[in-house]
């Protein structure tokens, strides 16, 4: 009995020793502030860009400081991956509740400038959530944005299709940019939407 008690005390002491070794505030911070999707550590400034919005206005990332920007890339003729991502992000906004969702802006940048007219992209995004902003424009304008976020875009012809058509292979990660304009998360396709929701909530609380 006494031996066992001593063993417990020794374990506790060891735990304190480890805790005491590091800066105490790190321990307090790390637990609640852990992002669950792929976190950028340290966070870096999100590359700024200006693109025509499908609504007709111009979108500039920098003007959305104060909001959490959810940035993702896709195209309106994409039947599987893109609707899945947008449907999940629409769910994230619903689950946040109306008040918190007001501080979350979903931005959808086209990877298919030749087919994605503003009207077409708008029709595509608004069926999931009317607040989603679709951005499209000439290839010369879109390409630097793809590059800045490391998004690969490859056009692939669909054999045997009449009229000839093509798919666009692209990275379908979701980027989270905090209210201070810092790139915080890159959630790869397939990240559970619970994790994305968790991370958006966390960034809203900062």
């Amino acid at each position: 009995m006494r031996q066992r008690r001593r063993a417990v005390a020794a374990t506790l002491l060891a735990a304190f020793a480890i805790a005491g070794a590091g800066p105490a505030h790190d321990w307090a911070d790390a637990a609640p502030a852990a992002l669950r999707s792929g976190a950028f550590d340290p966070p870096r400034a999100a590359p700024d860009f200006t693109l025509p919005a499908a609504s007709g206005a111009e979108f500039q990332l920098r003007r959305h400081l104060g909001k959490v920007v959810v940035l993702t890339f896709g195209y309106s003729s994409c039947p599987d991956v893109c609707p899945t991502v947008l449907a999940e992000l629409a769910q994230v906004r619903v689950r946040l509740g109306a008040k918190a969702a007001q501080r979350v802006q979903v931005v959808y940048v086209s990877v298919d400038p030749e087919r994605d007219t503003p009207a077409r992209l708008h029709a595509f995004t608004e069926q999931f959530d009317k607040t989603f902003m679709g951005l499209t424009g000439p290839r010369e304008q879109l390409e630097p944005v793809w590059k800045a976020y490391g998004v690969s875009v490859v056009r692939k012809d669909l054999p045997g299709s009449t009229p000839p058509t093509y798919l666009v292979h692209h990275s379908a990660s979701v980027f989270l940019i905090d209210a201070a304009g810092r790139l915080r998360v890159m959630a790869p396709f397939g990240t559970p939407s619970d994790d994305v929701l968790h991370d958006v909530r966390l960034l809203l609380k900062e």
């Binding site: 599987d80 608004e126 379908a172």
Partner: protein, 147 residues
């Protein structure tokens, strides 16, 4: 009078149930993704939508999903999305293998049906008729909910 009418009906229900139980291929949870009407659709950009379903092969022989059809699109193809280190690639496949006893899920980001050349918008809450074609089991028609 009533029992006479009810009897043939009961017989019909039993026969259908027995038929479904014997069928080796079971089609579960079919749904298709919503698709808004596209303004100024560019040529070569037919509106398309993905369809998803869970397939079970309860038979003793392998089978395969090879295609399908629906009255809301020009054709139905079988596609597969693959994730190549973050890059999502989609390709047409000839067949989804259904080994004996297998349960195969067609789901977002994996195997799916592609409804090519939609004839109308697909709005959540609607349902569409979807026929799946199997190598051995032939055609099975189901109704898929639009989500």
């Amino acid at each position: 009078m009533r029992p006479l009418l009810a009897l043939p009906l009961a017989g019909f229900v039993l026969a259908t149930a027995a038929g479904a139980q014997d069928a080796p291929i079971v089609v579960e949870k079919p749904w298709v993704r919503r698709a808004a009407a596209m303004p100024d659709a560019a040529p070569g950009a037919p509106s398309s939508a993905a369809g998803y379903v869970t397939l079970r092969n309860r038979g003793k022989a392998p089978d395969g999903l090879i295609g399908g059809s629906t009255d809301v699109a020009e054709r139905v193809e079988v596609h597969e999305t693959r994730n190549m280190s973050g890059m999502m690639m989609m390709e047409k496949v000839e067949k989804v293998e259904l080994p004996a006893g297998a349960r195969v899920e067609l789901k977002p980001g994996g195997y799916h049906l592609m409804l090519v050349g939609l004839k109308r918008a697909l709005t959540p809450g609607q349902s569409v008729s979807l026929t799946l074609e199997f190598e051995k089991a032939g055609r099975i028609t189901t109704r898929a909910e639009v989500r």
